[in-house]
């Protein structure tokens, strides 16, 4: 595949090209997809090394399926997220939840919190901690919907459930997150809006 066509090619076209031996297509897919699934794995596992192992394994499975990929049957990203979600679930069940709630930093005091970047980090850490308190399926659905930006039908395929079940999981997950974070909104720089 010509180099200038790689950026515009669909994930599926790149995967098929790689399956036919095109190494440049593999490079384009790596750049495009690795950050996406690393974001999910790192958030769920809360362990960088574990997350990287999961990503490498998920991408390896993608390389292996490439020659047999059936065009038009599934989105490459949906397939890859599904593999990643399952690998993360396996790791969590094997090794236990990696999220160490005690390790999540408390909000900085008023002076330090004036630095916007630190506030952002604190907010992100607070959200991660609250996500860690959710039941597994609610956490998966909320992350896929609100942090990874997948549509509900895509999440339904990733999690192998119906769209209505996705909506229910995300709604319940968000209610629980709101409860967990309610006491920290003022600390994290949010007013009573």
């Amino acid at each position: 595949m010509p180099l200038d066509a790689l950026g515009e090619a669909s994930d599926e076209a790149l995967l098929v090209a790689y399956g036919n031996g095109d190494r440049a297509a593999a490079r384009a897919l790596t750049v495009r997809l690795t950050p996406r699934i690393l974001g999910y794995a790192a958030r769920v596992l809360a362990d960088r090394a574990e997350a990287e192992d999961v990503v490498q394994e998920a991408m390896l499975r993608l390389w292996r399926i490439a020659p047999e990929w059936r065009q038009g049957e599934a989105k490459v990203t949906t397939w890859l997220y599904r593999v990643t979600v399952n690998l993360c679930t396996d790791r969590l069940r094997k090794y236990g939840r990696a999220v160490d709630l005690d390790a999540v930093p408390e909000p900085e005091d008023g002076q330090a919190a004036a630095i916007e970047g630190l506030i952002e980090q604190d907010r992100a850490a607070a959200l991660d901690a609250a996500l860690g308190l959710l039941p597994e399926r609610q956490r998966q659905a909320v992350i896929l919907r609100h942090l990874e930006g997948l549509s509900n039908p895509d999440i339904a395929q990733v999690m192998d459930i119906g769209v209505e079940a996705v909506e229910s999981l995300t709604a319940r997950g968000k209610r629980a997150l709101s409860r967990h974070l309610a006491g920290r909104r003022a600390e994290l720089g949010y007013g009573d809006d």
Binding site: T34, W63, A124, H146
Partner: protein
């Protein structure tokens, strides 16, 4: 100032998206090395054997010459069935006695049957 109503969780989601883990060069290199190794392995192994084509009725039909062949086959089969059922009726149904024996129709049959016992 008019404030638009916003999901109170959205600032947390914004912050989390901004603090997303980014892959380092080492991970990208490992992933690419796997892709390279898989591609090389496939090339060394040569093209994968093609799975056997499904042997449906259409494939079988194609093998014997398509629909015209099927029409001829059907006609032949029908004729065979008709002959099988109808022909024995001819000598008995007409009440005719031909007076012929098998040896009259096939003269060599008598000697053969004697030879064979």
């Amino acid at each position: 100032m008019v404030m638009t109503e916003r999901d109170p969780l959205e600032p947390f989601f914004d912050a989390a998206r901004a603090n997303r883990a980014a892959p380092e060069a080492d991970l990208m290199a490992r992933v690419l090395a796997d892709a390279e190794a898989e591609a090389e392995g496939r090339e060394r192994a040569g093209p994968a054997p093609r799975p056997p084509a499904p042997q449906g009725i259409l494939q079988m039909l194609k093998a014997v010459g398509g629909w015209p062949a099927l029409a001829g086959l059907a006609a032949t089969t029908a004729a065979g069935v008709w002959i099988g059922f109808a022909l024995p009726e001819v000598p008995t149904g007409l009440g005719l006695s031909t007076g012929y024996d098998l040896t009259d129709l096939a003269p060599g049959y008598g000697s053969l049957s004697e030879f064979g016992g």
